[in-house]
């Protein structure tokens, strides 16, 4: 019980520390940055009133086509290298693993593959990959989100029309 109280007191102390440090950081924002933030606010508020403010948002310059093509090609090569079974890869790995685990069907029927390759994206498999370490799980989720995002970026697509 006292351990719970102690934990909770430490959490509260951390939260107090973080809030105070953050407030100090906000107070320390320099005048130039404050001016720029105010300028951005004025533009937004003027837009709210429909004053014809130019609402085009600044964008990072899209990656040049050759960069996107090179990245996609490198990604394909890297994936092929990783996913292609090597010459020493044992056949019927699933079956051998099953034998090691003593789960071979009694009737000797061939085993179905344990899971299709795309099943790695499931949360359960992510947890297995992470080995139960929470931060690793979060990082794996971030990686998946990153690749999903990358796939949705039109300016990075291979079939993009040239200039």
């Amino acid at each position: 019980m006292s351990e719970i109280h102690s934990d909770s007191a430490r959490d509260a102390a951390l939260e107090r520390f973080a809030r105070r440090a953050f407030a100090d950081g906000v107070d320390a924002v320099d005048a130039d940055t404050c001016a720029r933030l105010a300028s951005a606010r004025r533009r937004a508020v003027a837009a709210a009133a429909g004053r014809g403010v130019d609402l085009r948002l600044p964008r990072l310059a899209p990656a040049p086509a050759w960069v996107a093509a090179g990245a996609a090609a490198a990604l394909v090569v890297a994936l092929a290298a990783v996913l292609r079974p090597g010459p020493d890869a044992p056949a019927g790995t699933d079956a051998r693993v099953a034998q090691d685990l003593d789960v071979t069907p009694a009737d000797g029927a061939p085993l179905e593959p344990i899971a299709p390759p795309d099943a790695l994206a499931s949360p359960a498999d992510l947890e297995l990959l992470a080995g139960g370490v929470p931060d690793v799980l979060d990082v794996l989720e971030e990686d998946l989100e990153f690749y999903a995002w990358l796939e949705q970026q039109p300016e990075l697509a291979m079939d993009r029309e040239g200039p």
């Binding site: 105010a38 609402l55 931060d135 979060d138 971030e142 995002w149 990075l156």
Partner: protein, 206 residues
């Protein structure tokens, strides 16, 4: 990078209360929006800095979030603005982080691995380089920034929104587009990790 937050037209002082320039029908809404954005702009900038650690990128993200909030949700009830604003801001921060990651990965393919430079040398500094700000910023804030940078993004977002910005669990879940249970999990992990990382700094608290 271009200066996307150019100095205001007509001078900052004269036009600081933007709602004063607005036609009557929209005036009330604009005043509310002006008040809301004024209240959160510096905090939003600091939060964007925690995720991006680059002043221009952080300013871009905040400006983008302000404009998107106005354009898409300006007519929604004002009590919904805060979680919506932070959802937009977090999305923008994540988008910039991914673009940066993509560029780093692509440039890595075409960079000589033996050129003697370490990736850490290419990383943006821990904070804005203005000497005055650096001097006035406390070591506590620097330590907090460093510790938050060590967290996975979802944990950092949950901690920032819950603890620093004061959103409740439901608002944080709305901002992060996840369940309330996920918020609690991410927050709990973040607190656990931060306690370990900041132990020396929080020893005197309480």
């Amino acid at each position: 990078m271009s200066d996307t937050l150019s100095p205001s037209v007509g001078g900052a002082e004269a036009a600081d209360d933007a709602s004063a320039q607005i036609d009557a029908p929209s005036r009330s809404c604009a005043q509310d929006m002006d008040r809301f954005l004024r209240e959160i702009e510096a905090r939003a900038y600091r939060i964007a800095m925690l995720g991006l650690r680059n002043r221009d990128d952080a300013l871009d993200a905040v400006q983008d979030a302000m404009l998107r909030l106005v354009r898409r949700y300006g007519r929604r009830p004002s009590d919904e603005w805060r979680p919506l604003f932070y959802r937009i801001l977090q999305n923008r921060v994540r988008d910039l982080q991914r673009r940066r990651r993509f560029r780093t990965a692509v440039l890595g393919l075409f960079t000589d691995a033996d050129d003697g430079r370490e990736p850490i040398d290419e990383a943006p500094g821990p904070a804005h380089a203005d000497p005055l700000e650096q001097t006035s910023a406390t070591s506590a804030m620097a330590a907090l920034e460093q510790a938050l940078a060590a967290l996975p993004a979802r944990q950092r977002e949950a901690f920032v929104l819950r603890c620093l910005e004061g959103l409740d669990v439901a608002e944080t879940a709305a901002a992060m587009r996840c369940t309330e249970g996920s918020v609690k999990t991410h927050y709990s992990r973040a607190v656990h990790r931060l306690r370990a990382l900041l132990g020396a700094h929080i020893g005197g608290e309480g």
